[in-house]
Subunit: 254 residues, 2 copies
Amino acid sequence: MKRVVIIGSGGVAEALSRGVAECENLTFVQVYGRNRQRVAEVSQLVSCPIYDSLQDADIYIVAVSDRAVEEVTRSLSFPEQSVVVHTAGSVAMDAIDHPKRGVLYPLQSFTPGRRITISEVPFFVEGADEHTTQIIEQVANKLSTNVMRMDSEGRKTLHLCGVFASNFTNAIYATAADIARSAEIPFDLLKPLIKETCDKAVSVENPRTVQTGPAVRGDIKTQQRHMDMLQGNDNLEKIYKILSLQIWETSKKM
Amino acid sequence: MKRVVIIGSGGVAEALSRGVAECENLTFVQVYGRNRQRVAEVSQLVSCPIYDSLQDADIYIVAVSDRAVEEVTRSLSFPEQSVVVHTAGSVAMDAIDHPKRGVLYPLQSFTPGRRITISEVPFFVEGADEHTTQIIEQVANKLSTNVMRMDSEGRKTLHLCGVFASNFTNAIYATAADIARSAEIPFDLLKPLIKETCDKAVSVENPRTVQTGPAVRGDIKTQQRHMDMLQGNDNLEKIYKILSLQIWETSKKM
């Protein structure tokens, strides 16, 4: 049974710790990191003792922020025969200076305290050589039913997709909430619409086929009225204009 | 018991027909419209006979597209004592030329064939006078647990919120799907992330508090790399830039 150490204590580290600890075919060894309080919290979540030093393991999963991967892996010394992977979407595999290096990228948004069904998370695997890749794949397949190989280039594209599908979507939600608030309409009233829009999009092959609204209908009059209402807020005017244009242009190509 | 006629046969008409027909405290009289095939389909869904002429009712719900409201209501003659409402977000109440006129606006995205839990849909009510408003409210309260009064001005803002929360969100999903496709990554792999992003946003008071990604972190390096990947697609470059700016600027104001 593969022994696993998780390095880091944020949302990804917490979710992976839970996933590994709950998996009967993996041995959860420790969660290791600089933030002692969070390490203690995550260790307690998975009922694991806390060690002051890095323990022996078959695979080290460096689940830290994209910017910290290189520094954190350099600051630690890993056993020669172990595999060391990071979980960062936008970081190349070679950011890790270790012969048996690789990547285990989960395409999901993790938040400390929120439970995720880890078995449904798509994991993208890359390894420095075939043997290393297979070891990472073995571990990934025990965590999830959705594992694929993906090189650093493909992973960059995935990460960009994630920015649209998650970060930008959330920004749009926040903007809708702002506009509602300006008319003293509680955000709660938008939630059934937000949920249905998401449910509908994930029920189809291509969300463009269920696009609705003034932009796809070419209803310029309504669009103009909306633009008038946004006047004075430069960003929102631009967002309205460019998204409407994108909807119109792409719908014509279908 | 109020007798209800639905005029129109699109997504809104279908959902309201189901809602009224399933409501023990309302009498569903007929669905009426120009598209005979769709009228037949909706009538069958709710096990209701088809009539060639407009039947007597206490309230007529004109559930047609925003642009058709005025023309359709003008083309019909309603009994003097009946209430006539439309369901259009962006249309003023006075588009209806009838003394007892009003609006019954459901803030939801309706698609023919998709079932919606009508009792959870927020309905916004407006009437030409207090008595008319109360009749519309009575009907709305039988359909949904979420009924509020809202004048034509407020409803315009709601409609704009809906464009962001639904139409623009869907456009972002479609764009993410495009980018994925360009790297031969199936849209299916983005779905767990899309669902979690939505679930997370509707679990909070303000989606801005759960914003993640390179823009909110001020990670210019990653943003620049993403912009490079989008080069050659003007719309996507602009969308990336303005949404990142919006995320950065609004997060600073929190």
